[in-house]
């Protein structure tokens, strides 16, 4: 009976369909923006450039998980259960980039 449960939250099938297609165009649009930005910012070395791409990636991920994987319509509890552990990954990534950078300094600058 999950599906009936879901239908409580969502609208009619045609609304659902239009939402899916809307998401598709958004994803496609962001991918195109990604590529264009890549060439626009090619000679830039600043840190914020990486952040631009990462944020765009996270936005795309939001749409995939939210709409395609139906997370937007699930209970908040499930959402937090799945999304919050990702904090550990972010922590891990941050530390490993710092450490990689430190290795870089030890290796090439000393």
């Amino acid at each position: 009976m999950e599906h009936t449960e879901h239908l409580e939250h969502t609208e009619t099938p045609s609304d659902m369909k239009s939402q899916i297609w809307k998401t598709f165009w958004i994803l496609l649009g962001f991918t195109v923006v990604d590529i264009v930005l890549y060439f626009v910012l090619l000679s830039t070395h600043a840190m914020w450039k990486n952040w631009v791409f990462i944020i765009l990636g996270v936005v795309k991920a939001y749409y995939i998980v939210g709409v395609f994987m139906h997370m937007k319509f699930e209970r908040k509890a499930l959402m937090y259960t799945i999304v919050l552990p990702m904090v550990f990954v972010i922590f891990f990534v941050a530390l490993m980039l710092i450490e990689g950078d430190f290795t870089n300094i030890l290796r090439w600058l000393k």
Partner: protein, 250 residues
Amino acid sequence: MATNTLTTNTKFTWGGGKSPFSVSYGKLMMWIFLLSDAFTFSSLLIAYGFIRYSFLEPIRNTIVKPFDHLSHEFVREMGEKGLFVKEHWPSPELVFNHFPFIHGVHLPLFFVSLMTFILIFSSVTMVLAVEAGHRMAKDEVSKYMFLTIIGGAAFLGCQAWEWTTFIGEGATLHGNPFGPTSFAALFFIVTGFHGFHVFSGVMLNVIIYFNVLAGTYEKRGHYEMVEKVGLYWHFVDLVWVFVFTFFYLI
């Protein structure tokens, strides 16, 4: 029996007797598995990040414009210009600049954009199949499932072509004409592990597709199985978003 338990008494979510998340245990298990798999991918991407950061920044090339003509000695020339050296990570747009059937033209990241498009599109057909499942529309489910399988297979084909091209240029697990050997090794392991997921996703989709055709879920009364493989399929798409961002863009 008790078919209405989920709709009654939603206030009392954690009280036992039903799911606090109001999803079936099967779907919950798929979510948990995906969470765990996300950590596997993260570990590979973290390894990538660590090794990438322990090298010097890519030397970006702004001289070679898209649609410039490539000679066969492109790689060597770039190497001579000092763009591919052991200490610096290569700039991806100089590495991934080929397109099937178009020879000798510098088409940076065009092919990988196409691959991304294919994968996103197959995700859309998947979610349409799931939606059709909610309406118990067997024909539509089978149509969209079929399209998803085609999309997945196309993506795998693209990846095979990209690998072949890359290997043809001399990249191996322990050699890389574009600079650090780690670049090629990481490329193969990360895209390979993702490709393996796509492959298993396609296999799962095929099984489910035949079950749909056989009317298994029609008899069962719901298409939850399609939802579950759908979750897996979208996850594969999700991972690609990050592989694309980190490997090709940054």
